[in-house]
């Protein structure tokens, strides 16, 4: 098919997301404001009041309710959407756990922002990562274009009856939501063909009454939880298919569950998620010209965790440096933990080093990435794999 992105516009990231959501024709949108998510829901509000988008737009009194409205709406059979960030996502946590358990396929934009305290409105991934065990599918994007494309795919993933789970598309606050970029849009008919109306197998139907949200104790609880995991694991194949179907329509391929960038002969492989991947690709190119065999894995789909794809991409690497924009207190970065757990006991595994970088929006430049690579090389020379992660650009002088 090829390039269908006929309309090309310079858009704020938030607007690109709103246009993607509009193209998906959600029946219900619920919103509660929190920075830097607001521009998305404001843009949608304008579309609804101007009659460009036919959707029930519900203004709620908290993020807890925003997610709960989606639960009710999707159980009643409507395609449903909201956006949130930081504390707002944390406030939704209980709802998201229960909704994944009840297999409710709504879509949330998780605008990534640091969590309190101290209060910070700058981007990092701690908010979304705190939901990693909830059963929501998490996909991270690098650019506004990828955000646009991924939101449309997200509904198809969520609503696939074999998956039937909520999906969160994660995009860095400000860096993506508030910056302007050239974005190519897909024609509405193409979107409609790719994403037909939501037709759930089960919904709240007076002609066929069913009960939702039962008690299931020790005799059945485990099976329900296993079923979520199974849907995620089995869903990996389907997610890749959906991504590539969309790539055929839009002419843009952002990769599958991961994007492997110059990893083929790489000795050092960086792993990153979100907008920093762009900077990292630049840094990789530069290091390559300097003769260093460096590559990058951009994780697109964090849950389900794409360890098969990552393992394949790092099989010849000597060392993997995981850039983490979040931290599991008292342990280390979550991506590193995931990866090391899957590597354990396998033969010929690369050394994995955890690099905490960019918390609370601390800027990651190409320079930071060169430093990471230097640090990794040093660790390798010394032969000692560090127990503790490196906290890049930490200011020890201000610590208590």
């Amino acid at each position: 098919m090829g390039d269908n992105g006929k309309t090309e516009r310079v858009l704020e990231g938030s607007e690109a997301v709103a246009l993607a959501i509009k193209a998906c024709r959600p029946g219900v949108i619920s919103t509660y404001p929190i920075s830097p998510q607001t521009h998305i829901v404001e843009a949608l509000a304008r579309m609804v009041v101007n009659g460009e988008l036919e959707s029930e737009y519900v203004r709620v009194e908290s993020e807890f309710s925003a997610a709960s409205v989606l639960a009710g709406a999707s159980a009643a059979g409507s395609r449903s959407y909201t956006a949130s960030t930081s504390q707002g996502l944390l406030l939704m946590t209980e709802v998201i756990y229960a909704s994944a358990g009840m297999r409710l396929p709504f879509v949330i934009t998780g605008v990534n922002r640091a969590v309190s305290a101290p209060i910070s409105i700058q981007p990092d991934h701690q908010d979304a990562m705190s939901l990693r065990d909830s059963g929501i599918i998490q996909i991270y994007v690098e650019s506004s274009q990828e955000a646009y494309d991924t939101h449309i795919a997200a509904f198809k993933i969520a609503e696939d009856p074999r998956i039937a789970l909520p999906v969160m598309v994660c995009m860095d606050g400000w860096i993506l939501t508030h910056s302007y970029e050239r974005v190519r849009l897909v024609e509405q008919e193409e979107v409609d063909r790719f994403l037909p109306p939501f037709k759930p197998i089960h919904f709240l139907d007076v002609n066929d009454p069913k009960s939702w949200g039962p008690i299931a104790d020790e005799d059945l609880y485990m099976e329900f939880r296993y079923a979520i995991h199974d849907a995620m694991q089995m869903g990996k194949k389907r997610i890749k298919e959906i991504f590539s179907e969309w790539a055929d329509i839009s002419g843009r391929d952002h990769g599958g569950l991961i994007e492997a960038y110059r990893t083929k002969d790489a000795e050092i492989v960086l792993i990153a998620m979100g907008s920093v991947a762009g900077t990292a690709k630049d840094a990789v190119d530069h290091l390559r010209t300097g003769g260093k065999k460096v590559g990058l894995i951009k994780i697109r789909c964090y849950r389900p965790f794409p360890y098969e794809d990552i393992l394949k991409a790092i099989q010849d690497a000597k060392v993997v440096a995981v850039m983490e924009a979040s931290f599991s207190m008292g342990s280390e970065g979550a991506i590193g933990l995931d990866l090391k757990a899957k590597l354990y006991g396998r033969s010929k595994t690369p050394v994995v080093i955890d690099m905490i970088a960019g918390l609370g929006g601390r800027v990651i430049t190409r320079g930071t990435i060169y430093k990471i690579v230097e640090q990794v090389e040093k660790a390798c020379e010394s032969g000692a794999v560090p127990f503790e992660p490196y906290w890049m650009d930490l200011k020890p002088e201000v610590l208590p």
Partner: protein, 300 residues
């Protein structure tokens, strides 16, 4: 409809559930659904009702039913209403049946939001005056001086020191077009109020006094009697409000002394035995009955 005909095989809420013997709310729900008919979707926040009617594989509900969490019944209902509207299925009505814990306390913010938005939901609170599903801890609906497991009676305590929140007034203050209280002791009145509420659009609220033999502490064959004593003593005023104004009250024909109501329940027993504080508490409750009678005009 005679009492006998009111309960037939075609019940939308069926027996076989796991409520305690004599549970007031099980009875009430059967009659609520009689009044709504089958074109409703029921949302129930976590509480006794959800746990005793829906164990995986077994359901007492012959209407579409959903439980999600403890504190989000109103917002889930909002979502359902929005979806029905989006799908042009809006002839189907949405009902929340919550306990007093979810209504008065943890779900209060969500309820307030739903009321303020004016969503077309009939919210019914099964008020048994405590967190029964977890064993009888105090809630914002617990009557003053009731003994609860988290505010037990002891050397320094004669039970919960605070007044019950006046939820009907709070709901009415949000501009809800129809607000009523009812009691399981008066099922015909209860059914009529549900029918009445169904004729309105927008957020409607009915608070039902639902005696709980297990935690209030009375024999399970006395549920209706205890409910009646509550109403007849003036401690449980039964009334109806339209657009914020009281339009009807259930009159007390023969007034029952509060002592009769209190002494029949374990949770109040201590007020009738014991020290000066208990006596003062008892007097205060009697005064509350008087003031209810005056405030709502319960006696001619």
């Amino acid at each position: 409809m005679s009492e006998k005909n009111a309960v037939q095989e075609k019940d939308l809420f069926v027996s076989g559930h796991r409520a305690c013997h004599g549970c007031g709310q099980a009875l009430a729900v059967r009659h609520i659904l009689k009044a709504t008919g089958r074109d409703v979707i029921v949302i129930t926040p976590t509480g006794c009702l959800e746990t005793f009617t829906l164990t995986y594989g077994y359901s007492s509900w012959r209407v579409p039913f959903m439980h999600h969490l403890f504190e989000n019944g109103p917002s889930v209902a909002t979502g359902v209403v929005a979806a029905l509207k989006a799908q042009h299925r809006d002839h189907i009505r949405v009902l929340v049946i919550g306990g007093d814990g979810s209504t008065f306390d943890i779900g209060f913010g969500a309820l307030s939001g739903m009321l303020e938005r004016g969503d077309d939901v009939l919210y019914i609170c099964m008020d048994n005056g405590a967190y029964m599903n977890t064993g009888g801890q105090r809630s914002g609906a617990t009557p003053i001086y009731a003994g609860t497991t988290t505010h037990p009676v002891g050397k320094k305590s004669i039970g919960k020191p605070q007044l019950k929140k006046d939820m009907p007034a709070i709901v009415a203050a949000h501009g809800a077009p129809y607000v009523a209280t009812a009691s399981v002791a008066y099922l015909k009145d209860l059914r009529r109020k549900v029918e009445q509420a169904m004729t309105y659009q927008g957020p409607r609220y009915i608070q039902i006094d639902a005696p709980c033999p297990s935690v209030w502490g009375f024999p399970s064959d006395r549920t209706l009697e205890i409910g009646r004593l509550g109403v007849q003593s003036g401690l449980v005023p039964v009334f109806e409000m339209v657009d914020g104004r009281i339009t009807g009250v259930r009159k007390i024909r023969t007034r029952v002394p509060p002592r009769e109501y209190l002494s029949a329940q374990r949770r109040f027993k201590h007020l009738l035995e014991g020290n000066r504080a208990a006596r003062e508490g008892f007097e205060k409750i009697c005064a509350m009955a008087d003031s209810n009678i005056e405030k709502y005009g319960l006696m001619d």
